[in-house]
């Protein structure tokens, strides 16, 4: 091949690179490993992730749920995982149709009119929602409760730090654990942002917050980090939310140390042209055959460049596929049953822990599958003692909330057996 193109050596392929910036030595990375050596090396690293083998009550944005076997099996079909963005709809209908189904399922579960093809994750979806609210309302302030996931708020701050959007953080009600101080909400506010269930697991009264936001002409942005809750709780759309964003990891996607997960983004039809991200829509060919295609791309960066609604270029394709398969395999009945089991098991654990001497539940609001526990001494000490007994007991709130030293967040899902819940209770005694 070299001869055919008139070259003598592969070095000559790089003639256009000036000599003085070429690398004159071998890269200092690993020697090539055989397949079995790679597996051995990675298994050795994975083995020191001992937390993955223990009963765990961690949630806080990443949840342990059972994923039907077919989910991981189907996403490994070559046609799905080794394809790219459906630029050529005639040979990408498989991808386009599942995106369309994903958009529909997200719209149904959130009770919103439209949803996009997915975002990187819940945190970036929330940041994009801030920017969209600013575009829609032409107002430059948002009010966000401090009961919204702290890492999501950090991401939103990064995204907006060079724009002209002011972020006001509103204190949650420390007795209820939900709601909070709305005094910052005024006629300059683009949006009120609330998470439900919030970071403390408390279910928010979305309808009344929507009414308050709408009174001053602001949008209500609802953030959902635990998508399984949508099977039981009143849908944000039913409560008159304007934008609903969230994390779809709970829909059959492994924790994988925090990613890849999948963000979702839903809104009202009238705002669709202000929406970030990819959208898939119905289209017909000249013979009247129904197909699907990416649409409304005039919002996007490859056309609008610096005036685009977002710099996002793809979606989270394969993870959106996993979520779609999960939602369809579980179906109407499964999505409701799994949500109810989460609520029941968490209620059982909450009651049992509250009954231990010295322990209490500091917030009065109803919870879904997570709740805050106040212990008799610093939570870090309690959790460390529990860890010594082979259980990851939850998350110390002090990681994110200064002054809440004795409190920790416990998450109980359908994968937490009664035996393990009882073990946790015993370890706390």
């Amino acid at each position: 091949m070299l001869r055919e193109i008139g070259l003598d050596s592969s070095e000559e392929l790089f003639r256009s690179i000036p000599e003085d910036i070429r690398l004159k030595r071998q890269l200092d990375v690993s020697l090539p490993l055989a397949e079995s050596e790679v597996i051995a090396s990675f298994e050795a690293m994975a083995a020191s992730n001992t937390a993955s083998q223990k009963p765990s009550f961690l949630g806080a944005g990443v949840y342990s749920h059972f994923s039907p076997t077919i989910v991981d099996h189907l996403i490994q079909r070559s046609e799905f995982f080794t394809s790219y963005t459906p630029y050529q709809p005639e040979i990408s209908q498989g991808t386009l149709q599942y995106i369309f189904e994903f958009q529909t399922l997200v719209a149904q579960l959130t009770a919103m009119e439209v949803a996009n093809a997915s975002m990187y994750d819940g945190s970036t979806a929330m940041a994009e929602a801030y920017l969209m609210a600013q575009r829609v309302t032409r107002r430059d302030k948002v009010v966000v409760f401090d009961s919204v996931h702290p890492e999501y708020r950090e991401v939103a701050r990064t995204y907006t730090q060079h724009g002209d959007l002011e972020i006001v953080t509103a204190a949650f009600d420390p007795t209820a654990g939900s709601g909070g101080d709305l005094s910052a909400l005024d006629d300059k506010t683009a949006a009120l942002i609330v998470q439900s269930p919030n970071f403390f697991g408390c279910v928010e009264d979305l309808a009344s917050l929507a009414a308050k936001a709408h009174e001053v002409g602001a949008l209500l942005i609802v953030v959902v980090t635990e998508a399984i809750s949508l099977g039981l709780l009143k849908a944000p759309g039913t409560c008159d939310a304007d934008i609903v964003v969230g994390e779809g990891q709970s829909w059959g996607v492994p924790a994988s140390f925090g990613g890849p997960h999948v963000g979702f983004f839903a809104t009202r039809e009238k705002f669709v042209r202000q929406m970030p991200g990819r959208l898939c829509g119905v289209a017909y060919d000249k013979n009247g055959n129904r197909g699907f295609t990416l649409t409304l791309s005039t919002r996007e960066q490859h056309i609008r460049r610096e005036k685009a609604t977002s710099n996002i270029c793809t979606n989270q394709g394969l993870i959106a596929l996993a979520a779609t398969i999960y939602m369809e395999a579980m179906g109407k009945a499964g999505l409701q049953e799994v949500a109810e089991q989460n609520a029941q098991k968490a209620a059982y654990a909450k009651k049992a822990i509250a009954a231990i001497e010295g322990y209490s539940i500091p917030f009065s609001s109803p919870t879904f599958n997570e709740f805050v526990v106040r212990g008799p001494r610093p939570a870090n000490e309690i959790l460390e003692a529990v860890r010594q007994k082979g259980i990851i007991g939850g998350l110390a709130l002090s990681k994110y909330y200064a002054g809440r030293d004795n409190e920790f967040l416990v998450c109980v899902t359908e994968t937490s057996s009664k035996a393990n819940i009882d073990k946790l209770v015993e370890a706390l005694l």
């Binding site: 091949m1 055919e4 790089f14 003639r15 256009s16 690179i17 910036i21 071998q26 890269l27 990375v29 690993s30 020697l31 090539p32 490993l33 597996i39 090396s41 990675f42 690293m45 083995a47 020191s48 937390a51 993955s52 806080a60 070559s78 046609e79 799905f80 995982f81 790219y84 963005t85 149709q97 599942y98 189904e101 949803a115 990187y120 890492e151 991401v155 995204y159 279910v203 709780l233 924790a255 994988s256 890849p260 669709v272 829509g281 289209a283 017909y284 060919d285 649409t295 490859h302 977002s310 710099n311 270029c313 979606n315 394969l318 369809e328 395999a329 179906g331 499964g334 029941q344 860890r387």
Partner: protein
């Protein structure tokens, strides 16, 4: 018709899952609730619960779901089926080994907030990949947090903004111009806008590289925060003046951002850090073979100079003298977090597996093969197709539809006709600087026979364009659906299924 490669193949029709749904069907079973059930009203009051019985959510069996997705999958082209020469996308082979190691339960099942002492393996893996990417790029500061290329870009330009703000204080306000070549990917200006920069466009020369005179002129106008460029650039040509570009921008007080989309042409051969680049993003889903997954997930690490490193996103993954790995958020100058947790960890596992499998010489060999393949294909096609630039490309070959357009056949038609020959089309109409651009990137994952078959198909299409242009203009002829009316779809968008959707769509 002279279709050389495609033959009829059974592919079944498949409705939307919502159209398949049958009341009462289920496809799952959960273990029985093993705790005593409380009254649901006592847990969550009725006012906060949904009461719509999840209307219209599908009810299907497990085999329904398996057939549904299996059938749909057969409508997709994929790398595993054949050459997928999307320029700028680096559609190389996705090793099954990488999939296997990413699914090791100790990785896949690990919660990101697990105690550090019990997640040392994951932190070590991230640390090892950081070290490898620092070596490959020659840039010592690395963050793997960005979720995709566009987010890596945003992170990179925010690092530049942070350095300027610190260096220049109040007067940094006068320095908000980001220079971006007219050939750049659209994410570049969109990312620059997020960092508060305004964009000025640098022209390209007739040779397809940055116009140095124009760059100097723009720099002399002042206010330059930096430049964002791609190298090899988006027409596949190495910017041979790279050192002068960096010097010119540095002398003007700006910084240099390099879009690493085309790193597959450089790994093991040249390093951005040695060229004068300050910050780069990589696409692990391109150069390091993590699967494109139908459009994500990606992973867009950001690599930078030691000077910029203190601004990288937090938490950073570091190693103590004791050998223990830890998450360090104590970097007060950081631009902040760009994503919850630590990035797309599963993609990092796959990329490190790719690096280990290839090793030091294998990485360079892959680069050589990628460039050789593109050069060979370019050579084969340059008789039939117009080459917009005289210079040799690196890992991509670029052509325009100039010759075929004389017969009314344009790039879109050529792309669609390629489908009939059994190939995924190349990237079309990008970059914008070439009219009717066809950007072809074969990657290293293809042998001579497949390159020859592709070249033959292209040459056949060129002949068809002259002899039977209608055949090309109406392509594809072998797919389950023809070209879609995208304009109608955008006029009255139908973005979700509803029971009455069919009627709504047709009336559009």
């Amino acid at each position: 018709m002279s279709i050389k490669k495609v033959t009829q193949h059974p592919s079944q029709n498949e409705a939307l899952i919502f159209e398949r749904s049958q009341t009462g069907r289920i496809g799952y079973r959960l273990p029985k609730l093993d705790v005593e059930a409380a009254e649901i009203d006592e847990i969550v009051p009725a006012a906060l619960r949904r009461d719509d019985d999840l209307a219209d959510v599908p009810e299907v069996s497990e085999v329904d779901v398996v057939r549904h997705f299996t059938r749909m999958s057969t409508w997709n082209y994929s790398i595993d089926l054949g050459l997928y020469p999307l320029g700028s996308c680096t559609m190389k082979y996705n090793s099954r080994l990488n999939e296997k190691v990413a699914r090791i339960p100790g990785f896949a099942g690990l919660h990101p907030l697990a105690p550090e002492a019990e997640s040392q393996g994951a932190l070590e893996l991230i640390y090892r990949l950081q070290e490898a990417l620092a070596e490959i790029t020659g840039l010592p500061g690395v963050s793997l947090q960005p979720a995709a290329g566009a987010q890596g870009e945003m992170t990179g330009v925010m690092l530049i903004r942070a350095l300027l703000d610190e260096r220049d204080g109040e007067s940094s306000r006068e320095r908000r111009v980001m220079l971006i070549p007219d050939s750049a990917h659209g994410t570049n200006p969109a990312s620059a806008a997020l960092a508060g920069f305004t964009v000025k466009t640098i022209r390209s020369t007739a040779d397809g590289i940055t116009d140095m005179d124009h760059l100097r002129e723009l720099c002399s106008e002042g206010g330059v925060a930096g430049v964002m460029f791609t190298n090899p650039n988006t027409v596949g040509i190495f910017e041979r003046n790279i050192k002068e570009i960096c010097e010119t921008v540095h002398n003007a007080g700006g910084l240099v951002y390099m879009d690493g989309a085309n790193m597959n042409a450089l790994v093991g051969v040249a390093r951005p850090g040695d060229m004068g680049v300050d910050v780069i993003h990589l696409n692990l889903h391109k150069t390091f073979s993590t699967p494109h997954g139908g459009g994500g997930p990606g992973c867009g690490p950001c690599c930078c100079t030691a000077e910029l490193a203190k601004f990288l996103p937090v938490p950073r993954i570091e190693k103590k003298e004791t050998g223990e790995f830890f998450l360090n958020s104590d970097h007060p100058d950081s631009i902040g977090r760009v994503k919850a947790f630590y990035g797309n960890f599963g993609m990092m596992v796959r990329a490190l597996s790719y690096i280990y499998t290839h090793g030091n010489d294998g990485l360079k060999e892959a680069t050589e093969a990628a460039v050789l393949n593109a050069r060979y294909l370019g050579h084969k096609l340059e008789g039939a197709f117009a080459k917009p630039f005289p210079s040799d490309g690196m890992h991509e070959a670029i052509f325009s539809h100039k010759n075929q357009a004389k017969n009314g056949v344009v790039t879109l038609d050529i792309a669609k006709r390629l489908i009939d020959y059994g190939f995924h089309p190349m990237t079309v109409y990008f970059p914008l600087v070439v009219e009717g651009a066809m950007l072809i990137e074969p990657t290293e994952s293809v042998g001579r026979a497949d390159l020859d078959a592709f070249a033959e198909a292209m040459i056949d299409i060129d002949r068809e364009a002259r002899e039977n242009p209608e055949l090309v203009k109406n392509a594809p002829h072998s797919t389950r659906i023809g070209r879609l009316d995208e304009a109608a779809a955008a006029r009255k968008p139908v973005l979700r299924w509803r029971p009455d959707m069919e009627a709504a769509g047709k009336s559009a």
